[in-house]
């Protein structure tokens, strides 16, 4: 195994709803060590079959998606040195999606030929529809790509989780990309990342999951907390039990997780020896001054909200993601901002969002950066006030996921 990544785990558990309806688990997952001429590479894959009558073989589609992903990565690993991350970035963006898609179509076509229905029913890739998310873990870098509504989170050395990759919204609906669509490189490109691993990289683990996991959590903050806590699971059995609990208490959907830990490294102190005493003294003095200052000052709900968010910057994105609809609503209904900014407003986060519409707010850079990003996204997806019926405005090629 690569010395940089350890304790790879992947697990899929049938959803509580599917178990009750005696349907198969439509999720599949994989974690595997691959050897090539270029060295050792680890692979995590999750796939989520769409389910339902129209996609009745999607449990096979997701399993085949995992299988062909491994084959495709092995194919490129055999001829591509791991020491060339730029080439791997290109592979993740272009060749790998094409290879996986091609192999998946061939695999489901061959599988269909074995089905009893094949004699009297025309073949359609829809029958096998599935999402796919994969992560490659090399000693010097890691990368991901895929299509659909899977999520990828990173946990840093302090145990804080952050969402690194999620599917963008498709036209305001719960649409998702799928392998059963014609190959759309752009959809894969949007989910592609490659990051070098430097000695100082503050990454402890990566968690890849199908949408059922995130949708089982009450909020995105809960989802991130869950991802961080998963690192404490000791073995596959605990992971499986945890997933069973998630689907029973949550969405009822099939659930999959794939996890990789970075090998631990010695912590290096960034403070020279002897400086600690001065730092502690400074900190104590600052605390006294800050306390006195706070005593004389009444904090408004908006200020309290800003302080709370800036104290937990890793939760800013998840918190604001919860309010995507509010960002859009503020663009579409200018009067809403006035309501939210009234002193009587009982929604301080809404007040914060409304206030940020006219520019940066007094607060940390992380908060303002994320607010700016959310506004950009809202502007890109906002429905025109006098637009057509949204039913006709939905993208034609976008699958949906309620």
């Amino acid at each position: 195994m690569s010395p940089s990544w350890q304790h790879l785990q992947a697990c899929s558990v049938i959803g509580a709803a599917h178990r009750r309806q005696q349907k198969p688990c439509q999720d599949a997952s994989l974690s595997v060590d691959l050897k090539g001429r270029g060295g050792s590479l680890q692979l995590l894959v999750v796939a989520d079959g769409h389910g339902g009558r129209r996609y009745r073989l999607s449990h096979r589609g997701s399993a085949l998606a995992c299988q062909v992903s491994q084959e495709a990565v092995e194919q490129w690993l055999a001829c591509t040195p791991l020491q060339d991350p730029e080439r791997w970035r290109q592979l993740l963006e272009q060749e790998l999606p094409a290879t996986i898609h091609q192999r998946w179509l061939a695999a489901i076509t061959a599988d269909w030929a074995l089905q009893p229905d094949a004699e009297h029913e025309p073949f359609s890739p829809l029958l096998y529809g599935s999402t796919l998310g994969l992560v490659l873990l090399a000693p010097q870098w890691w990368g991901c790509t895929g299509i659909g509504d899977w999520d990828l989170s990173a946990i840093d050395q302090q145990g804080h989780a952050a969402l690194l990759s999620e599917e963008r919204e498709h036209g305001g609906s719960e649409a998702t990309g799928s392998l059963c669509q014609e190959l759309d490189q752009q959809l894969w490109h949007e989910r592609t990342q490659l990051h070098p691993l430097e000695p100082q990289t503050d990454l402890q683990a990566l968690v890849l999951s199908t949408d059922g996991v995130r949708k089982s959590c009450a909020t995105d903050a809960d989802y991130l907390q869950l991802c961080a806590a998963l690192l404490d699971l000791r073995d596959h059995q605990e992971l499986e039990q945890g997933l069973s609990h998630i689907t029973q208490a949550g969405s009822g959907d099939d659930v999959s997780l794939a996890i990789a830990h970075r090998a631990s490294k010695p912590r290096r102190s960034v403070v020279p020896p002897g400086s600690w005493c001065w730092l502690l003294l400074l900190l104590a003095a600052s605390s006294v001054g800050l306390g006195a200052w706070l005593m004389t000052r009444q904090e408004t709900p908006l200020q309290a909200q800003v302080r709370q968010l800036c104290a937990n910057p890793e939760q800013i994105q998840a918190t604001l993601n919860q309010r995507r609809a509010q960002f859009k609503a503020l663009l579409e209904q200018p009067l809403l901002a006035n309501q939210l900014q009234q002193p009587t407003s009982s929604d301080p986060l809404g007040t914060l969002i409304a206030t940020s519409q006219s520019g940066p707010i007094p607060g940390c850079a992380a908060l303002n950066d994320e607010l700016s990003r959310q506004w950009q996204r809202a502007r890109a997806t906002a429905v025109p006030a006098k637009g057509k019926m949204p039913g006709a405005a939905a993208p034609a090629a976008a699958p949906r996921n309620p």
Binding site: S173, E174, L226
Partner: protein, 248 residues
């Protein structure tokens, strides 16, 4: 290791009736039939909710006559719902009703993790206010775009065109379809449609399943493809199968 202390949650499924309470609903027992149909459908709806614990079915109702108002304002778990009778009288402020529902479909109060809502519009006449403005306002809400929108026309005076606009683009081909206004010509048919919407549709909307929009709709764009609507009850597929006398 104990399971991490995070909040897991089933997903709320908001089911909203929009009921025409104009004066014409008092005629020929229509109001009485609607109250009866909704009340009778509740045990079946509760049973579907019990069978799908991953969805939390919450019911609300709007009444519209001279103006629109919440008849059942709080999202109420179907198991706890006790239907109070609607009363007829006034004109048909349907656009106002759509505005009211539009306000309720904002996030917040709508939960980020909610399932696509189900909206059922029931009317026997024509809107007397600005229906287009109400509909445009409603359809600006992402949750309304995601919603399963059904319409039931009570009797032959109902404005099928506005009901179709509420549902969305008309499907190709002829014949009855849940993506067309469902025409109830008597109390029995109405009860069957209400029963279907509150059980089969709620069951479908509760399912955690993905799907591909482009092919669900035969290539046409349609927000209703969020949920594959179940077939109508067999007796309602053919107009000649309608049960009971033609009274409306």
């Amino acid at each position: 290791m104990p399971f991490p202390n995070v909040r897991l949650s089933n997903r709320p499924l908001h089911f909203i009736y929009l009921c025409d309470c104009s004066g014409s609903m008092a005629a020929q027992g229509k109001m009485q039939a609607l109250n009866q149909a909704i009340r009778q459908s509740l045990p079946g709806m509760a049973e579907v909710a019990r069978e799908n614990p991953e969805a939390r079915v919450l019911v609300r109702a709007v009444r519209f006559a001279d103006q629109a108002a919440w008849h059942l304002a709080e999202p109420t778990p179907v198991q706890q719902l006790q239907w109070r009778d609607l009363e007829a009288g006034g004109i048909t402020a349907m656009g106002d009703a759509l505005n009211l529902v539009a306000d309720a479909l904002q996030s917040p109060p709508m939960e980020e993790r909610a399932l696509p809502p189900v909206l059922v519009l029931i009317s026997d006449g024509q809107p007397t206010d600005d229906f287009d403005a109400g509909l445009a306002n409603l359809m600006r809400r992402p949750w309304a775009q995601k919603a399963v929108r059904l319409a039931i026309a009570m009797g032959h005076d109902a404005d099928l065109e506005v009901l179709q606009q509420f549902i969305g683009p008309e499907p190709s081909g002829r014949g009855k379809s849940p993506r067309r206004p469902l025409q109830a010509s008597n109390a029995t048919t109405l009860a069957q449609y209400i029963q279907w919407a509150s059980t089969a549709v709620v069951g479908a909307a509760s399912m955690p399943a993905s799907r591909v929009a482009a092919t669900d709709t035969g290539g046409a764009t349609n927000s209703q493809a969020n949920i594959p609507l179940p077939d109508l009850p067999p007796t309602l597929l053919d107009p000649s199968d309608d049960v009971g006398p033609l009274v409306w």
